[in-house]
Amino acid sequence: MKTTRDSTRKGAAVDQGPPDFECLDTEQVSPDTQAKARAEGNRPLALLGYLLLGAYLGVVFVQAEVVSWFRIQEMFRFQSFHMYGIIGTAVAVAALSVQVIKRMEVKTIHGEPIRLSPKDWGDSRIPGARYWIGGTLFGMGWALLGACPGPIFALLGAGITVLLVALASALAGTWAYAALRTRLPH
């Protein structure tokens, strides 16, 4: 039993340049049910649900010390299994669930067929440029700041207010990418 995938699904973005489908097309459901899924996700009760799910994740992030600069240093120095164990078991649980969802053709609670869109390799002459160049730049930021985007917000909630500056910088970085993207290899 093989689940079909949508080979190309462009996002709603209007600009020319590198393909862009990773953020705007977040509903991973069959194309005909996408608008329905989006509308359901924006209902007040659904939004409250997402808020609560985020709060659950924020508590885990803090209590497992995933948001700690110290823990990220420990990880990049290979001096503890802690972070590797967390990422490894998170991926294992997620991968197992995704396989079950695909093989059993599980639908969302509202009945939309779930369809995961594959990541695009891009079309630049440098294969996978966006993944390894962008990934390396992100990794540098991760090791400096000791926090990836989720933990930035969890640390702000934990009262470490100087992370507001890191958030503003991250927004500036996102904006800079948006301004430069047509000139970057993808």
Binding site: A13, D15, E22, T26, L47, Y50, L51, L53, G54, Y56, L57, G58, V59, V60, V62, Q63, A64, E65, S68, W69, F70, I72, Q73, E74, F76, S80, G85, I86, G88, T89, A90, V91, I101, T108, L116, K119, Y131, I133, G134, G135, T136, F138, G139, M140, A143, L145, G146, C148, P149, F153, L156, G157, G159, I160, V162, A166, S169, A170, Y177, R181
Partner: protein
């Protein structure tokens, strides 16, 4: 109650925390066909910033409320969770629970305060005016935002959602995360802090 709260004290072991984080992927898929990807919120926030249309790159011109509403609520929840955790369970002393080897390496780089989640030498408002604090917070933040969008995802989107769906591009991105992280840890931080 006392003992229940004590048993919830940090650090939660990896074999508890990892699966709890991994579960977010199927929950989001089942509830609304959503993909776990946090850095998209940085884009939604940029799209939400009031700026003259002419100054806004087309990448940031879209209906952010419609596409990103759920995710912005989700990330607000993550901040709320951070608040609830430190308020009701206490601020974890990650600097104390890390390995002895890391503590001595960091002490050799001049880190002295090992209380809390982040070193006080780098993460206070006044540290922004030191070269190390500026690079860590301002440059680090910039690279996180730039790199995540360039790579098309961050730790959640690539390392968790992408690897869970066995996506090769995500594996390349994750290898990049580590290449960049090692470069900073062993090449840049010693110069910056030492």
């Amino acid at each position: 109650m006392e003992t229940m709260l004590e048993s919830l004290a940090a650090p939660w072991p990896w074999y508890v925390a990892g699966p709890l984080i991994g579960l977010v992927v199927p929950i989001l898929l089942l509830v609304g066909g959503k993909v776990f990807g946090i850095s998209a919120n940085l884009r939604h926030m940029c799209a939400a910033l009031p700026a003259p249309e002419g100054l806004k790159p087309s990448f940031l011109r879209y209906d952010w409320k419609k596409s990103g509403g759920w995710n912005l609520f989700f990330i607000a929840g993550v901040a709320l969770g951070g608040f609830l955790a430190v308020t009701f369970l206490g601020m974890p002393d990650a600097g104390q629970s890390i390995s002895e080897a890391t503590r001595s390496d960091l002490a050799a780089l001049g880190i002295q305060d090992f209380s809390g989640l982040v070193p006080a030498e780098l993460f206070t408002w006044s540290s922004l005016f030191t070269p190390a604090g500026f690079v860590v917070i301002v440059m680090g933040g910039f690279l996180v935002g730039f790199g995540a969008r360039y790579a098309g995802g961050c730790t959640s989107g690539h390392a968790i959602s992408g690897l869970a769906d066995l996506q090769l591009p995500s594996l390349v991105a994750v290898l990049g995360f580590f290449a960049g992280g090692l470069l900073v840890t062993f090449g840049i931080l010693p110069l910056l802090l030492g």
